[in-house]
């Protein structure tokens, strides 16, 4: 699914923010990504969702070495990766339905199919009453749920979430985690970057821990522990 080999990353001429990162994620695995602020979590996620190219090392996504993958093939690969951004990145002028529908529109899905799936998912995340609302009228938690719905609407093979439960109360956080687990059960590989140790402990999936740009993997009592260093 995803393999990093001796990956290093630096911005410009600055110091390396990631050093010799080695890991692989098996299809259908579930991992937490932890680390203090500035440890390189967001950079690692950006490398995973192909927004950055490493300064050294090799990255294989869906069994393809991205350094030699033609640029024209990358959009198809990105369509199989769902991302929940820490700052949500909802588009202000679009309604809730339109925001969530974006990945489907981008991948060329039929309008009727888009409408049906989007409404169903939004009802599931408790936003069935806010279908035509603009992001600016939603609370932080509601915006986060829209961002999550947008990331999962396409049933991605790989779901990457940066602090997806940061702005919601514990009840909604657990509910969202169940959504991620549900997706994981249907075959989606999930990586969740979080500071929430309660959730990490409660759900018990393996933890990829970043400390000053170096990655270690801590195995736990995950039902499908398939990470390897």
């Amino acid at each position: 699914m995803l393999r990093f080999e001796n990956v290093g990353m630096r911005y410009g001429v600055g110091p390396e923010v990631l050093r010799d990162v080695n890991f692989s994620l098996a299809p259908g695995s579930f991992h937490f990504l932890t680390g203090s602020s500035g440890a390189g979590k967001t950079t690692l996620l950006k490398l995973m969702y192909l927004a950055l190219r490493p300064t050294r090392g090799l990255i294989h996504v869906f069994n393809k070495d991205i350094s030699v993958t033609p640029r024209a093939e990358l959009p198809m690969m990105r369509q199989k990766i769902g991302v929940v951004f820490q700052d949500f990145r909802l588009i202000d002028h679009l309604t809730t339905v339109e925001n969530v529908a974006l990945p489907l529109r981008v991948s060329g899905a039929h309008r009727v199919e888009i409408d049906e799936h989007v409404r169903e998912l939004l009802s599931w995340v408790g936003l069935g009453e806010r279908l035509d609302s603009r992001p600016s009228t939603l609370s932080g938690g509601q915006q986060q749920r829209v961002a999550i719905a947008r990331a999962v609407i396409n049933r991605p093979s790989l779901l990457l979430a940066d602090e997806p439960t940061g702005n919601v109360d514990d009840r909604i956080a657990v509910r969202l985690m169940y959504l991620f687990e549900e997706l994981n059960r249907t075959g989606t590989t999930v990586v969740i970057a979080t500071h929430n140790n309660v959730l990490v402990e409660k759900f018990g999936h393996p933890v990829m821990h970043l400390n000053d740009g170096e990655l270690t993997i801590q195995r736990r009592r995950a039902p499908r522990d398939s990470a390897s260093t």
Binding site: A51, A101, P103
Partner: protein
């Protein structure tokens, strides 16, 4: 109801001016194209009117009936001549009226006799040789194939025509530059959304297509306005031209086909705007990972 575009172009201030710029370009472009077509048709008209025609001029003192008959018979016997006709004194004087006025012409001004010669299409008669032969019959006869002044006139008209097309090309270039800057500004303003779409797996063509549609709508608005304004000006000129009686001025009326061709100017402007926007976006996106 899903939106047409994911990018909120209506919030982009820089796009406000594009329809005005395109309107101005289309207005000037349409006038230039019309001018080029008018000049081309004027040149053709002058050329076709005078090609294949010669005028033999007989001095007043030699313009007797016998001399003219002799000259007509000599000319008619020349290979390549299709038709020869002596111009009546009344007709010859009538030709001078636009230049000298009725009073002067009717005041007994001596007018040389004229013989109108029409050559067979494709035939080439050397006016110098013909003149030499006619002078053997009647001294002082002149042969004019109108080439001397017509070629100078055609040269001027052709130069003006080339100039009009060059200006048209400059206008098109200016339109391209305006669209490039507007599109680049749009890329900068909507960078975050473009990055998001890119990350979701939007192909470059998907994003470029949105800019292309926006450029089309803006250019269409400007193109229609500019085209209509130019059409009004041309109609006005046509009306003015209808009242004028200037023999050698080009016809200011355009044929229906040429009016149809003028519609191409806004259409081409829209196509240029769409293509420019698309290529600008594709070029910018190619720099993304």
């Amino acid at each position: 109801m899903m939106r047409r575009t994911d990018i909120p172009f209506e919030r982009d201030q820089s796009t406000r001016f594009l329809p005005w710029i395109v309107a101005l370009m289309v207005f000037l472009g349409t006038l230039m194209f019309a001018l080029a077509m008018l000049l081309a048709s004027a040149v053709d008209a002058w050329d076709s009117t005078l090609t294949g025609r010669m005028t033999v001029q007989v001095p007043v003192q030699a313009a007797s009936r016998d001399n003219i008959d002799t000259l007509v018979a000599t000319i008619a016997a020349t290979p390549g001549v299709n038709k020869v006709q002596a111009v009546s004194d009344t007709d010859a004087r009538a030709l001078l009226i636009p230049w000298l006025g009725e009073g002067v012409v009717d005041s007994g001004l001596p007018v040389p006799a004229l013989i109108d010669v029409e050559t067979t299409p494709g035939a080439k008669i050397d006016p110098v040789l013909l003149q030499a032969r006619l002078e053997e019959k009647v001294k002082g006869v002149g042969v004019d194939d109108h080439r001397a002044w017509l070629s100078a006139l055609i040269d001027v008209a052709r130069t003006a025509e080339v100039l009009a097309f060059a200006i048209l090309a400059l206008i098109a270039s200016a339109a391209v530059i305006a669209v490039v800057f507007t599109t680049r500004s749009g890329l900068a303003v909507h960078g975050a959304i473009i990055e998001l779409l890119h990350q979701m797996g939007a192909r470059d063509a998907y994003i470029a297509g949105q800019f292309q549609i926006q450029a089309m709508l803006l250019a269409l608005r400007g193109g229609i306005a500019g085209g209509l304004a130019a059409a009004l000006v041309l109609l006005l000129f046509a009306l003015i031209g209808r009242g004028m009686d200037a023999a050698f001025l080009p016809e200011l009326n355009l044929s229906p086909v040429k009016w149809g061709l003028l519609v191409l100017v806004p259409a081409v402007a829209v196509a240029i705007a769409m293509l420019t926007a698309r290529l600008t976006v594709l070029r910018a996106l190619a720099r993304m990972p």
